[in-house]
Structure formats: structure tokens, C-alpha cells
């Protein structure tokens, strides 16, 4: 097993979390830059860390140009698990925050196209990511979006299986999760994509709640409070109670909120952020909307804005 270790070098420690250390290194043969995520083992009473297991499990199944590639897995001499990942120097959050960069509509469209393609690939393999946010959308040196961090991913639930609602960073958390639903589907990821779409246009987080309770408030103030009328059975969800009722925004209000958005961009955003998960579109449907075929054409990845420095 350790023969594989000799193929890679670890040169610089670039990050450390509770269960892993990330190094920057090279593939010896090709001199290609890589990242090695060394997962600490043997120090936990429950064995291999759950996030590490999920990450390896799902990344080994998924190969797609918009999903980070897991190049190799090996154990180092100290018995730790090492994931060799492609090196991705930037992420979408960095770009959103970089006020020196101007986003064109064609750029936003290009990112959305790549995000949706990657998420669609997860979904058609019955895998939910459950933690989509700009920070987890890495960017390759050639401008391609790569979905990363599958530490919270899971397979689509079986009928009757209970899933945990405590997933997704709260700003990107779908309303059914905020209500504590135990039976949800890939539509939780679609919601996150919708909120990321809004953030790409606004250049600031769309629904920045500071707590679970406030997240409900922020979400519904922006998008209207769900009721039995527009979301049948919503009141039966565990944490649906004593909500302040906000009316849904009119199209005009949304138009004013997203000044630069074209009609079809707005249509797509509305479909992605439907409160009722049953009404929310799928990635496949989103990819087939006019938004992606109408002018302007999406920017080629290599021509997309890069980190200014």
C-alpha cells in the first residue's frame, strides 16, 4: 500500500481540521500539483471518522468534470488514511468576496451551468451532497467549478428511512430542513444552488440568518411564509409553528431585488427556490431552461474572472 505513498510528496501544510490535515504536494512522476488530505485514524474511539468515510465512499463513485477528482487513496506509515485530490487553488466564495472583480451575466451563467451539471451528476447517482455553498465550490486553474467536501453526503433515503435534518450550512438550508423534515430528497441541494445563484448576482449572502430560528425568519421574509395553501401538509412538519406570515414576493419585487437578472434568469431562480420541495425543479429541468440557451452564451471557463492579487 505504501508504494502509492512514494508517488506523491507532501510539501506544505495548508490546513488542519479536527479529523484531517491538508497538505499541498506533487505527483512525483508528473510534477502535477495535488492536495493530500491526511485523515487521522486510530485516535478516535469510534474508529475511522464518519466524514472521512463519506468523502471516500462518494468520491470513489463520482467522476465528473465538475466534481473534485479523488486521484488515489493510500495509508501512510503511521497508519493514517490519505486522500490524494486534485489541487484546486480557489473557491467561489473568494471570488464573490473579491470586490475588485466584476461579474458579467455570462460569467454567472457559466458558473451556474457547471454547478448544476456537477450536482446533477450526484443526483443521477442517487447521491445527495447536503452541504452546497460557495466555499465548497472549488475552482480549477482553468476556471472549472469542482464540487468538493462530501463529508456530509449520503445516498438517497430508502422509503420510510429517517434522515437527519441537521445538514447544510444554515444560509443554504432548504425550508423543509428548517422545519425538521426527516424525509427529504435531492431537492435540498437544488435549494442551495438557488441561493448560491442569488448570491452570485447580489455579491452578498442572500439569506444570512444568525441562528436556526432567525434563518426561518430571514428565509420567509424574502420568499414568503409557506402555508397549507401553497405547500400542502407543511404544517405537519415537526418545527412548523407560530410563524409570522409574510406574503410571497411579487415578480416585480424580485425583479427589483435582482436588477441585472434577465426574465429567464429570474424564472430559473424562482423554480430553484420554490418553498415546497415537490414544486422545486430538478437539476435536469434547471439545465433545460431557456436561461442556458438564450443570449449571452456562458463564458468559457478559462475566460472567467480569476482571483485578483
Amino acid at each position: 500500500m505504501s508504494d502509492i505513498a512514494a508517488n506523491y510528496t507532501k510539501e506544505k501544510k495548508v490546513g488542519e481540521g479536527t479529523y484531517a490535515v491538508v497538505y499541498l504536494g506533487k505527483q512525483v512522476k508528473t510534477k502535477k500539483l495535488i492536495a493530500v488530505k491526511e485523515i487521522k485514524t486510530g485516535m478516535f474511539k469510534d474508529g475511522l471518522d464518519m466524514s472521512a468515510i463519506r468523502e471516500v465512499k462518494y468520491l470513489l463513485e463520482l467522476r465528473h468534470e465538475n466534481i473534485i477528482s479523488l486521484l488515489d487513496v493510500y495509508s501512510s506509515e503511521n497508519g493514517n488514511l490519505n486522500l490524494v485530490l486534485e489541487f484546486l487553488p480557489c473557491d467561489l466564495e473568494v471570488l464573490i468576496k473579491d470586490k475588485n472583480i466584476v461579474f458579467q451575466q455570462a460569467d454567472v451563467k457559466s458558473w451556474m451551468l457547471m454547478i448544476l451539471r456537477g450536482v446533477h451528476h450526484c443526483h443521477r447517482n442517487y447521491i445527495l451532497h447536503r452541504d452546497l455553498k460557495p466555499n465548497n465550490l472549488l475552482i480549477s486553474p482553468t476556471g472549472e467549478i469542482k464540487i468538493a467536501d462530501f463529508g456530509l453526503a449520503r445516498s438517497l433515503g430508502s422509503p420510510g428511512e429517517n434522515l437527519t435534518a441537521n445538514v447544510v450550512t444554515i444560509w443554504y438550508r432548504a425550508p423543509e430542513l428548517l422545519f425538521g423534515s426527516r424525509h427529504y430528497t435531492s431537492s435540498v441541494d437544488v435549494w442551495s444552488v438557488g441561493i448560491i445563484f442569488a448570491e452570485l448576482m447580489l455579491r452578498t449572502p442572500y439569506l444570512p440568518g444568525t441562528s436556526d430560528a432567525e434563518q426561518l425568519e430571514v428565509t420567509f421574509r424574502a420568499l414568503g411564509t409557506p402555508t397549507e395553501k401553497n405547500w400542502p401538509n407543511v404544517s405537519k412538519l415537526p418545527w412548523y409553528n407560530s410563524l409570522k406570515i409574510y406574503p410571497p414576493p411579487t415578480r416585480n419585487e424580485l425583479k427589483n431585488r435582482f436588477i441585472a437578472a434577465s426574465g429567464s434568469a429570474l424564472d430559473l431562480m424562482i423554480s430553484l427556490t420554490q418553498l415546497d420541495p415537490a414544486k422545486r425543479c430538478s437539476c435536469e429541468e434547471a439545465l433545460q431552461t431557456v436561461y442556458f440557451t438564450e443570449f449571452p452564451r456562458p463564458t468559457k471557463p478559462k475566460d472567467l474572472p480569476k482571483k485578483s492579487s
Binding site: 486510530g42 469510534d46 468515510i53 470513489l60 467522476r63 497508519g79 449520503r154 434522515l163
Partner: protein
């Protein structure tokens, strides 16, 4: 859009065929790493067995050299009974059984977790021999990792308490990394359950909703043995009953080599075929042959349900549906036009025939695959209890040569009275 652009787009579409569910499955690690032909499986097992024998002997040698009671390896090696390839497989099958009983009856785990634990155990023994790691120990780690990987976490301590006797949290965790490595880090397993559930709905869709007037099946007359076609109605209860029975067979399919040789939907259909052949054959013929033509007829604005009654073929493997297309007669057309129309019609007819033939070939191939899947499911052989005890003893001494040497010593000392030190088989 200009014509050129349109053509280009059409060209692009042709270049990029639609990705099917089958394509996706072919990219899964289960297909890439853990699907085999029968020969490939045999080769792997031979290799693992050779490797196991070599390691067991080496281990014994090391102990002999270390042993102060001066056991010679040359004399001791005759005592060591190595496990044969067949015995190795029997031993694994035996512990698959133990694992299944334990996880369903004692731990009451969801089927997904049970199936994954079994898959882990079987995959592990395509990499390691039972002479290297005792299945009793490995199965505990398989259960632990499967539960963790399927979002059904169980603390090692809890699991150890359930498994009792020699299982400790440490012994479970000790092998976790070895197991993950043996699995080449692949942990996503596809089982027949999801496919079964899908077929439950599709059986209803095709056999009830699409054909509310019933479906034509071939039945053998009990007394005359003659095959006869008749139209029957299949109701929801029958489908549900089939589903429940098929699910039990899906549990059975986890044993043996079925999951290494067939895909989950194939196994699911084989289970249905096994429990209700008439209904499953009806589903398959309508889904893959008859309805394929019916779609075409509907497109042309015709639907000839009754035609099916006239079928003369009574071979289930040849579900041909006769259907004719009324020739279009139009008095106003000139002879030439008529001739042309006739030719076009003829060509279409030929194309349809070809397509029909393809559908029938596809169907035949599928039935053949499903029958072979059923044969595999039926051929699983577990050891008898005596066989299991004998093999288990061999395994025990291969892994613990020190105990073998100790026994030898005792036998030498008191004439073999302690020979019958039993190895308990749990489960």
C-alpha cells in the same frame, strides 16, 4: 437558428448519446471492482487460498523457531491442516449465514445495512484468506463499518455487547482499517432492494394501469399438459404478494456469488421470476416486446388490444404479437404515387419487423440471464454443521499455530486426552 446551426446541433446530439442508468452503473465501483465472470471469481479464490496457505505455514514456522519446547517446523507442519479452496468458500458461506441471522434476528438492522455487511464480508475474502483473518472476527468489523457507512452508526461497545464472548470494542476497531483497505476503500454497495421496489411500481403500472383489460399469458393445462393462451387480470394483491416473497429471495441472493455475477435489477427480476413466473413473464413481455409495438400503433392512431388473442405462438420465449397495418387506400392518388407510397410502406414494415426482432432477441437474452441468475441463487452451498466445525478448527489452528503447538505438547504429555478442546461456533 440557421439551417447550418440546426444541422450542427443535430450532429452534436448524435455525438453525445444519452447517459443511461446502465452506463452509470458501469461507472460504479461495484461494477468496476466487484463484478466478475465465474472464471475470474475462481481465479481470485485460488490466488487467495494459495496466499493463505503460504502465510499459515510461515506463521507456524515463525512460532516453531521461537518456541522453547523445541518443536521442529518439519515435524509440526504435518500437524497443520491447511484449508482447501472449497473449504474456504464453505467457511465464508457459513459465516455469511451467521452474519445474516445475527443482523436480522439479534440486531434487527435495516436490510440495506445487513446487505452491505454481507457484501463487505464476501469482498474481504476475495482479498484475504480465512487462514489469515478469522471470519468470526471479520464479520463483527463488517457489521460495524456497514452500519457506520449506511448512516446507522452503532458504537463499538454496543455492538461488542451484542456479539458477546470474545468480541471487544478493540477487536472490532483493530480490523477496521484492514477491512477498508481490502475493500480498496470502496464502500458504496448496490443491493436488489431498491430495484425490487422500483419493479413493484412498474409491475403495477404495466400490468394494471396500462392494460386495464388484463394481459395474455400462457398456461399449461394441468391434465393434458397442453399450453394455452388466456387473458387474465393481475391485481394489486398478487403483485404485492409477489413483492413480499421476492424480497425474501433477495435476502437469499446475498449469499453465494449472485451479487458478484449479476446486477441488482437482474437479481430483483430473477427474484420476481422465481416467486411468480407467470406474472413476471407477462410483465417482461409487455414491457419489452408487446408494448414496444403498441406504442408505435398508438402513434399511428390505432390500438388493437384484441389482436393478442389471435397469437398462435405458445412459447414464452417468443412473445410475438401479430399486428397488421391496414394499407392505406386512397383512390385519388396516381399509380406512381401509390407505388411510391407502397414502397415507403414496405420499408417501414421491414424496419418495424427488424425492430420487433431486436426486441424479441433482447427479451430472450434477458430471460436467459434471469434463469442463470436463479440457478446461481439456488446453487449456494453452505456446510453442514459437522463440516463447519471441522473447517473452523482448521482455520483456528492456521491462525493460531501456537495453540496447535500447545496441543501437540499436551498430547505428548497426557496421551491426547485434551484433544477435544472444542471451538465453539456462535450463531
Amino acid at each position: 437558428m440557421t439551417k447550418k446551426e440546426q444541422q450542427k446541433e443535430k450532429g452534436d446530439k448524435e455525438k453525445k448519446p444519452v447517459t443511461t442508468v446502465d452506463d452509470l452503473y458501469r461507472h460504479s465501483t461495484q461494477y468496476r471492482l466487484w463484478s466478475f465472470t465465474e472464471n475470474q471469481l475462481k481465479e481470485r479464490r485460488t490466488k487467495v487460498n494459495v496466499q493463505g496457505k503460504r502465510r499459515a505455514l510461515k506463521k507456524l514456522k515463525v512460532f516453531c523457531e521461537r518456541d522453547d519446547n523445541d518443536h521442529k517446523f518439519e515435524t509440526s507442519r504435518d500437524l497443520l491442516q491447511l484449508v482447501s479452496e472449497d473449504e474456504e468458500l464453505l467457511e465464508v458461506n457459513y459465516y455469511v449465514d451467521v452474519l445474516q441471522k445475527l443482523s436480522s434476528q439479534v440486531l434487527k438492522l435495516p436490510s440495506q445495512v445487513r446487505a452491505t455487511a454481507v457484501a463487505f464480508l464476501k469482498r474481504f475474502y476475495l482479498v484475504h484468506s480465512v487462514m489469515e483473518h478469522h471470519p468470526k472476527k471479520v464479520l463483527a468489523t463488517c457489521l460495524f463499518l456497514a452500519a457506520k457507512s449506511e448512516n446507522c452508526f452503532m458504537a463499538p461497545k454496543t455492538l461488542a455487547e451484542y456479539l458477546g464472548s470474545k468480541t471487544t470494542p478493540e477487536s472490532i476497531l483493530e480490523l477496521e482499517f484492514t477491512l477498508v483497505q481490502a475493500l480498496s476503500f470502496t464502500m458504496l454497495c448496490h443491493h436488489p432492494y431498491r430495484a425490487l421496489h422500483g419493479f413493484l411500481f412498474d409491475f403495477q403500472g404495466i400490468l394494471i394501469h396500462r392494460h386495464p383489460n388484463g394481459v395474455v399469458v400462457t398456461r399449461k393445462d394441468e391434465s393434458t399438459g397442453e399450453k394455452k393462451k388466456l387473458r387474465i387480470k393481475i391485481n394489486k394483491d398478487r403483485i404485492m404478494k409477489g413483492y413480499v416473497a421476492a424480497r425474501e429471495w433477495a435476502d437469499v441472493s446475498l449469499k453465494g456469488d449472485t451479487a458478484f455475477l449479476f446486477t441488482p435489477p437482474q437479481i430483483a427480476l430473477a427474484c420476481f421470476l422465481k416467486v411468480d413466473e407467470e406474472m413476471t413473464v407477462a410483465y417482461l413481455t409487455y414491457k419489452f416486446v408487446k408494448d414496444q409495438h403498441k406504442d408505435r400503433q398508438e402513434e399511428g392512431g390505432k390500438e388493437e388490444e384484441e389482436e393478442e388473442e389471435e397469437e398462435d405462438s405458445d412459447d414464452e420465449d417468443n412473445p410475438e404479437t401479430k399486428f397488421d397495418n391496414d394499407e392505406e387506400k386512397d383512390e385519388n392518388k396516381t399509380e406512381e404515387e401509390k407505388q411510391k407510397a407502397k414502397e415507403v410502406e414496405k420499408e417501414k414494415e421491414l424496419e418495424k419487423e427488424l425492430e420487433k426482432e431486436q426486441h424479441i432477441q433482447f427479451y430472450k437474452k434477458m430471460i436467459k440471464t434471469l434463469r442463470s441468475c436463479i440457478r446461481t441463487m439456488d446453487s449456494v452451498r453452505g456446510p453442514t454443521l459437522d463440516e463447519a466445525k471441522t473447517i473452523d478448527k482448521k482455520v483456528h489452528y492456521c491462525i493460531n499455530p501456537d495453540k496447535l503447538l500447545k496441543r501437540k505438547r499436551q498430547e505428548g504429555a497426557d496421551g491426547g486426552q485434551h484433544d477435544a478442546k472444542k471451538i465453539k461456533l456462535e450463531g
